[in-house]
């Protein structure tokens, strides 16, 4: 379902949330307090990204894999705090967590710049690229946005992608940030 993208991906995300929320939040709350929910959300998104990119081998259970991602998120978020230091100590002693799964960290500046970038695109491009980014198929996008057929959407998507690439190239700061952003892909 995750690899299909689009609506199937949304359903999978909700199902994963329901299945793991209670247990993960209980664990995360002990080390992250009120930020447990945010860490859980970020971890789920990272899990979905990894599965979608074919990086989840299935050697461990999805639950263990998700826990591994959450551990990495915790380490990154609160490395400075005393509470997190205790957690770092505990996690670093655990072999299963030291080489945890990938999670793409996006810092706030990059996040904001990309959100702003979207506003520079024509509304049609924004809609098409946002849906395409969420792995909706060309047919699904055509249906959702009332285009004649998927060929029209494919052509528009190529144009919009070119538009996006051009807009980024015109913004050296953003381009540098994106080039330096270490994605797990």
């Amino acid at each position: 379902m995750i690899r299909q993208g689009g609506e199937a991906l949304s359903s999978a995300l909700r199902e994963l949330y329901d299945r793991h929320h209670r247990e993960m939040i209980r664990k995360l709350r002990k080390v992250m307090g009120s930020e447990a929910e945010d860490v859980f959300h970020d971890s789920l998104v990272a899990l979905v990204e990894n599965v979608s990119a074919g990086k989840f081998s299935g050697r461990s259970s999805l639950k263990t894999y998700l826990q591994g991602i959450a551990d990495k998120q915790c380490l990154r978020r609160y490395r400075q705090t005393t509470r997190a230091e205790r957690y770092v100590d505990r996690v670093s002693k655990s072999e299963t967590h030291t080489a945890g799964p990938d999670d793409d960290f996006i810092d706030d500046q990059l996040r904001q710049s990309v959100n702003q970038l979207l506003t520079h695109l024509p509304p049609k491009c924004r809609e098409i690229l946002t849906l395409w980014a969420q792995k909706y198929s060309m047919r699904e996008i055509a249906q959702k946005l009332n285009y004649e057929n998927e060929t029209v959407v494919r052509t528009l998507k190529s144009r919009c992608l070119k538009n996006l690439a051009t807009t980024i190239s015109e913004n050296p700061g953003l381009r540098k940030m994106l080039e330096e952003w270490k994605t797990s892909d």
Partner: protein, 247 residues
Amino acid sequence: MENIDSTNPLLEDYLENRLSPPEKESFEKDLRQNPALQEELNQYKSAYKALKIIRIESLSDELRNYASAKKRRSRLVLSSIAACLLILMLSVLSAISRYSDEALFRNYFQPYPPLYTTLRGETHDELSALHLGLKAYSAQNYDLAITYFQSLLPQDSTFADAQFYLANTLMAKGQPGQALTSLDAVSQSFPQVMWYRSLALIAEGKTREAEKLLVALSQNPEDDFYQKKAQLLLNDLDSPVRKFFFR
């Protein structure tokens, strides 16, 4: 910064892994020989990275919305349960409270109707005061009624009508203890006296005494009206709810 003037048609296919191995090899060869294509590829790579960030942001937003909706639903369910429990509790309390002494008195007590007849040969003045008292009693002007009824008693404390209506007036005013004193002064054999006496006793918490009177009333075949009323009140006094909560 070099912009894209014309896009290589294979660029997207290459980045989305849709090229066959020979096509891929050929494209990579072009890449090595064509710096403009290399630049174009880099620009596209950045665009794909931006799209990945957009996807992650969209998924995060979707998750946040889903979590908020779930929380709202949970709160709604909890509020509904709390409201149902509250209503249930209030209903139970209301059901229980109707069996208390005070509630039973309130439910069963109705002032005896004012009857302008003579029970024995009263004088003209006595009748006049009694009638004025009954008129005030009828108009629920209980303080005035008490004054008239009491004005008759110094001359004849056994004046049954005056004592009986005085007792009713006092009960209507919520003074059952004083009403008992008036009822003590009249013959206990009248069913209506027994009935109001039992009500005043219940209001005073003397339910055992009241029950004795009510049993006597319920077994009186000559007065069907008070027989039925007494039986109903006895049933309420004997109800399991009352036994559990008030005894």
